[in-house]
């Protein structure tokens, strides 16, 4: 299943306080650190249950790239109480649908269910969080599936490797160096302890956000959340449960210094034995520490020019610039500049390079904003027989124009309308709302940003757009990737 997002931030977030209706929500933390966000929207009898785990490809080690995404596949395999292959069936057989995706910064799981199956969705997600179970056969199957996914989405798609190639060169000595799909050799190299450590480190309540939107009763939902999630132990006590369930007595003694029988399977959280209480308390007090990669500071300071040979028919050009993090104050202006360059058929790059000059069959510009770094890529696929030097000049001319002149008042109004329209569409479905609330909480520390996002764009001025064009689109520090057809 389960698709992969190479770019966390192409998914814009949120809505406006302009013409958009406000998204009302409640949020709170459980004692074990799980953050909960609930939004009620009763127009259709369905509900979206999602969990965002704050782990993505940037949390991977060199030599284990692609692991976060691979792990996402594995976590559909089952749990202590859900047999292999049953997870999908329980959802689909009860009228629901499910999926997940992994970006550089996070992994996101969701189910969309008829609203009378909300409790089922909560139970399923709590099982995945507490004690997922993966067998060797599942690992082998999912490894093949991920390889097919890479062939289908990257290797077999013309030009699709440009993101991988750009990240590789723009982020040096930093985990943004690779993209979420990672390397198949690394997946083959994974050991049992890699799986166990990854799960124990990143799949804990304090690293997760449970976001639910749809036809739900807030009070009843809170009760169910208490039942299935509040009972999950805090800190390292969750890993104590996992080991309790999985280890032999000898292994358990070696790890914890006590016999398995000290703990109480019937009354796990409230054992009668003082020794068990002490053990639980000790591990509950031990927080799980997660290393967070730092902001990327090693920005490109010169021009790099490289050629990639691909299974393509028409040569193409991809030009990449250093960008700030998605949370940077300049990011809204960069996104709006991007809209002027390549949003819609009246955009500058389409009108000038594709339609008027007929130099390219397609031209685009895309900002890649992530949690601790960012880049912007401009690209064009050349039309028959067009010289790439000329094409590059045509793209550069558009940048220079942005830097030298203010965008026209009409264009400015156009993109303000476009941002508003996009934001409205994004919150038209409950699954989208659940995801936006969770993303805003995790990246911006405020689920409420879902309601103020448009204001951020509306504050941007024409001068801001000119300023960021000058600041980030540096002709003397950029990556120019040339794509040429492979010889047969």
């Amino acid at each position: 299943m389960k698709k992969i997002f190479c770019l966390g931030a192409l998914t814009l977030l949120s809505v406006s306080s302009f013409s958009q209706k406000k998204v009302d929500f409640v949020e709170y933390d459980l004692p074990n650190g799980l953050h909960v966000i609930l939004h009620q929207e009763k127009s259709t009898p369905i509900v979206a249950v999602s969990i965002l785990y704050h782990v993505g490809s940037k949390n991977e080690k060199v030599g284990r790239t692609g692991f976060a995404h691979f792990f996402e596949h594995l976590l559909f395999e089952g749990s202590q109480n859900i047999e292999r292959g049953e997870y999908d069936k329980l959802v689909e057989g009860n009228g629901g649908t499910l999926n997940a995706n992994t970006s550089n910064d996070r992994t996101f799981y969701y189910e969309i269910l008829p609203s009378n199956q909300l409790e089922l969705g909560l139970w399923l997600e709590s099982e995945r969080l507490l004690h997922a179970k993966v067998e060797n056969i599942g690992i082998e199957t999912q490894r093949s599936v991920v390889k097919e996914e890479k062939r289908q989405r990257v290797d077999n798609q013309p030009y699709a490797s440009f993101i991988t190639e750009a990240f590789k060169r723009m982020f040096v000595d930093h985990p943004y160096n690779w993209v979420p799909i990672g390397s198949m050799e690394d997946l083959d190299a994974a050991q049992e302890e890699d799986y166990v450590n990854f799960y124990k480190t990143f799949y804990v309540p304090s690293n997760a956000t449970l976001s639910i939107a749809g036809d739900l009763d807030i009070e009843q939902t809170k009760k169910w959340i208490d039942k299935y999630f509040a009972s999950i132990p805090s800190g390292q006590a969750i890993n104590l449960v996992r080991d309790y369930e999985n280890m032999t007595n000898d292994e358990f003694v070696a790890a914890y210094g006590v016999e398995l029988s000290v703990l109480d399977g019937q009354e796990y959280n409230n054992p009668k034995s003082a020794e068990a209480r002490k053990l639980l308390a000790k591990y509950a007090a031990m927080p799980t520490s997660i290393a967070r990669p730092p902001n990327y500071t090693g920005k490109l300071t010169k021009v790099i020019r490289d050629t990639v040979y691909d299974n393509i028919q028409l040569p193409a050009l991809f030009i990449t610039y250093n960008f700030p993090n998605q949370t940077d104050k300049d990011f809204c202006a960069l996104e709006m500049m991007n809209e002027i360059l390549s949003g819609g058929s009246s955009s500058r790059m389409n009108k000038s390079i594709v339609e008027r000059k007929e130099m390219a069959v397609a031209a685009f510009s895309a900002p890649f904003g992530m949690e601790v770094g960012g880049i912007g890529i401009l690209g064009a696929i050349s039309a028959n027989g067009v010289d790439l030097t000329e094409l590059q000049k045509a793209i550069d001319d558009e940048i220079v124009k942005m830097q030298n002149e203010l965008v026209t008042q009409e264009e400015f109004e156009k993109i303000r309308n476009k941002m508003e329209s996009d934001l409205i569409d994004m919150n038209s479905r409950v699954a989208g709302i659940a995801e936006n609330l969770a993303d805003n909480h995790v990246y911006y520390g405020s689920a409420g940003r879902t309601n103020t996002m448009l204001e951020g764009y509306m504050k941007v001025t024409r001068e801001d757009i000119q300023r960021v064009a000058k600041k980030y689109f540096t002709q003397d520090a950029r990556l120019i990737l040339i794509y040429l057809p492979k010889e047969n």
Partner: protein, 694 residues
């Protein structure tokens, strides 16, 4: 014993955390009430049926206009409606295309058009601006000449790529086998039909199709009834036109017995299989919901269907195999499709037919049916989140005369479908003995398909679904052909004279300049031959050697920029040794090459003899002009590690060079690329440095 990774040995089903017995799957709450609001329906004086589904969830509104014309037979101009559809948005009497694009983008709206109608989605506050643009395009599309030329060019390249796109080829074949020639669905655009389409035809068709009578305007979203009525009044009632085109009732052609149609795609590693069953059922038929259940059990979406379980999970013949019902008022069709590797092509068809046989003779399982119905009920509920769904329901009720509570009762009707219904419908609409099978694949798979055809006569179709002209039997033998080819090349009249002339030629070298649309710089190809069987070739571009190869009579190798150097294998050396000399065909009889006369084929209106030669992994087809005996075309197919690669060479512009008739132009189609070559020099008995090719 299975080894568990995260869980090593699960042993404690008893674990109870916080009074929760986690082994119990939560039961569902009370069934949710699905509330489908009635849509408003009203008609305009100019014949538009307006359907309004109010929904104020988000501040935007959409207008979908479906035109009322029946499908039109396009004959020699097949595809004119596609060209028209792509051109509608190219400007109006008042606005150029640029202005139109700009105004749509300015209000953040989406506006599109096709030969079937138009669609607008716009924020509430720009509703009037959006409608003004939609109404303008609807009534005043201008069809500028320059845009017509641009769109035709786009279709030209689309048709080119369709020839290598197996799913497109299968669709074209499906059109021909499932519908009579007089049914518009049987028509496919070809290079010839595109050529005959003129701008005037496009304008006429627009006038004929873009008329208000019989059309449906579906309005969904943030708009009240009063606002909708005012908007329709303002923007759609001035629209005029003739009667909507009405054709005779149309049906798919019922299959009687089974027919196999084969479309050859040289080099394919997978076969595209489509098993079609035309169905006599129209939208709104009381059987429709039951048919949907039947199809979901059989091969609808997901992994659990009969087809997926058998062909993917059990046999691993494919990544996916699905059944799709297309229930249309102009002819309905069930299509089972999938991609299968070459060697299981026939087995896959056997299994598909087995599943049809099974579902038409045996009752479905209780659990299978219940799970399917639950999944369908959920999918129905989720679909209601989109206001478009509600509007589509209202349109279907209106257009197909369904009961007004058809969708309100959908879940009830669905729940009532039982095993007997499924079997009854399967028997009524499906039969393993009456199917139209389309296979697009490599020629090698064709032979095994005869068994599936009732009369054993496989229909051979080209990429656009038209019958392939069969080869005629040749009037001369392979050896006679080679003799005539030698005379033609040497311009002599006897073998003795030819051999004498050829003896004088100790070596030759040829340089050719190549260009391809995809490569921004010219390439230079050099080829050399030295008596008796030393050869070299080299490809250069931008001062670099991209690829070179040589053979010195006993050994050889290739070097390429991508893959590095590789020596010829023993097998390749043996093959090379069989094909030597300035005219390798002369030596076939003695070198051990397998060769035969295939017959006469018509290529671009010329009769050509086709000679096939096979050695090891390489098969070559050479085409010789029946009048001049010169070689006009070669198709070379190499199979390596199960991968098939083919290249097609066309030769032209023959003239005497160095005493031999030699081609002056060569066109090489290799994979997705076509290289056009002009011979720059051809020198006989010059000095040759073989080392530069090593």
């Amino acid at each position: 014993m299975k080894k568990l990774i995260i869980a090593t040995l699960a042993f404690l089903p008893l674990l109870s955390i916080g009074q929760v017995d986690r082994s119990i799957i939560p039961s569902s709450g009370a069934a949710t009430l699905i509330n489908i609001k009635d849509s408003e329906i009203f008609k305009t004086d100019n014949g538009i049926t307006v359907i309004l589904s109010e929904n104020h969830k988000i501040p935007s509104v959409s207008f979908q206009l479906s035109l009322g014309a029946d499908p039109i037979l396009e004959g020699p101009k097949a595809g004119v409606s596609n060209v028209m559809g792509d051109l509608v948005m190219s400007g109006t009497a008042k606005l150029t295309k640029d202005e139109l694009d700009n105004q749509i983008d300015y209000i953040g709206a989406y506006l599109s058009a096709s030969s079937g109608g138009m669609y607008l989605s716009v924020m509430t506050r720009f509703r009037d601006k959006g409608l003004a643009l939609m109404s303008d395009v609807l009534q005043n599309a201008s069809f500028p000449e320059s845009e017509f030329d641009r769109i035709v060019k786009q279709f030209e390249s689309g048709l080119k790529s369709a020839k290598s796109e197996p799913s497109q080829m299968a669709n074209n074949a499906n059109a021909k086998v499932n519908y009579d020639a007089m049914h518009p669905f049987s028509e496919t655009m070809t290079e010839e039909s595109l050529k005959s389409i003129k701008l005037e035809d496009v304008k006429q068709l627009y006038k004929l199709i873009y008329v208000p009578e019989g059309s449906y305007l579906v309005i969904v979203g943030d708009i009240t009834k009063e606002e909708a009525k005012a908007a329709v009044d303002k923007y759609f009632t001035s629209w005029t036109g003739g009667k909507a085109y009405k054709g005779a009732p149309l049906y798919s052609k019922p299959a009687s017995g089974s027919q196999v149609a084969f479309v050859s795609k040289t080099g394919a590693v997978q076969s595209v299989i489509n098993v079609n069953i035309p169905m006599d059922v129209a939208p709104g038929d009381p059987d429709q919901i039951g048919l949907t259940v039947l199809n979901q059990v059989f091969g609808g979406s997901g992994f659990g269907t009969r087809l997926m379980q058998n062909l993917r999970e059990d046999k691993a013949f494919t990544y996916g195999c699905y059944a799709r019902q297309n229930i249309d008022e102009h002819g309905s069709l069930l299509t089972i499709s999938g991609n299968f590797r070459n060697d299981v092509t026939d087995s896959a068809i056997t299994e598909i037919l087995y599943e049809i046989q099974k579902i038409t003779t045996e009752l479905a399982g209780e659990e299978e049916l219940e799970t399917t119905k639950a999944a369908m009920a959920g999918s129905f509920a989720r679909s209601l989140e989109s206001p478009q769904t509600i509007a589509r329901f209202a349109r279907n009720i209106e257009k197909y005369g369904l009961d007004k509570d058809y969708y309100k009762n959908y879940l009830k009707t669905l729940a009532a479908v039982n095993k007997d219904d499924v079997l009854r419908l399967a028997k009524k609409y499906m039969s393993a003995e009456n199917v139209n099978i389309v296979v697009v694949g490599n020629d090698e798979v064709a032979a095994k398909l005869k068994a599936f055809d009732s009369d054993g006569k496989i229909l051979k179709l080209d990429a656009f679904g038209n019958a392939v002209k069969e080869k005629k039997t040749a009037d001369i033998s392979a050896d006679q052909l080679i003799e005539n080819y030698v005379y033609a090349t040497t311009q002599t009249t006897s073998m003795k004279k030819a051999i004498k002339k050829l003896k004088k030629i100790k070596s030759y070298s040829r340089t050719t300049e190549l260009s391809a649309a995809q490569i921004p710089f010219p390439l230079k190809m050099s080829e050399v031959w030295i008596k008796p069987n030393t050869e070299g070739s080299k490809l250069e571009g931008q001062g670099m050697v991209l690829q070179k190869s040589y053979f010195d009579g006993n050994a050889g190798g290739t070097t390429s920029m991508q893959t590095g150097s590789k020596a010829l294998t023993e097998e390749e050396v043996t093959a090379q040794k069989k094909s030597f000399g300035i005219i390798p065909e002369m030596n076939y009889a003695t070198s051990g090459m397998k060769y035969e006369m295939v017959g006469i084929e018509v290529v671009e209106d010329k009769d050509m003899y086709v000679l096939s030669s096979t050695d090891g992994k390489k098969t070559q087809l050479d085409y010789f002009d029946k009048v001049t005996y010169l070689k006009m075309k070669s198709i070379i197919t190499n199979t390596e590690d199960g991968e098939v690669r083919s290249a097609e060479y066309d030769f032209g512009n023959y003239s005497m060079q160095g005493g031999l008739m030699s081609y002056g132009t060569i066109s090489m189609a290799i994979g997705p690329m076509t290289l056009e070559g002009k011979v720059k020099s051809f020198e006989v008995n010059g000095k040759i440095e073989l080392n530069t090719f090593k």
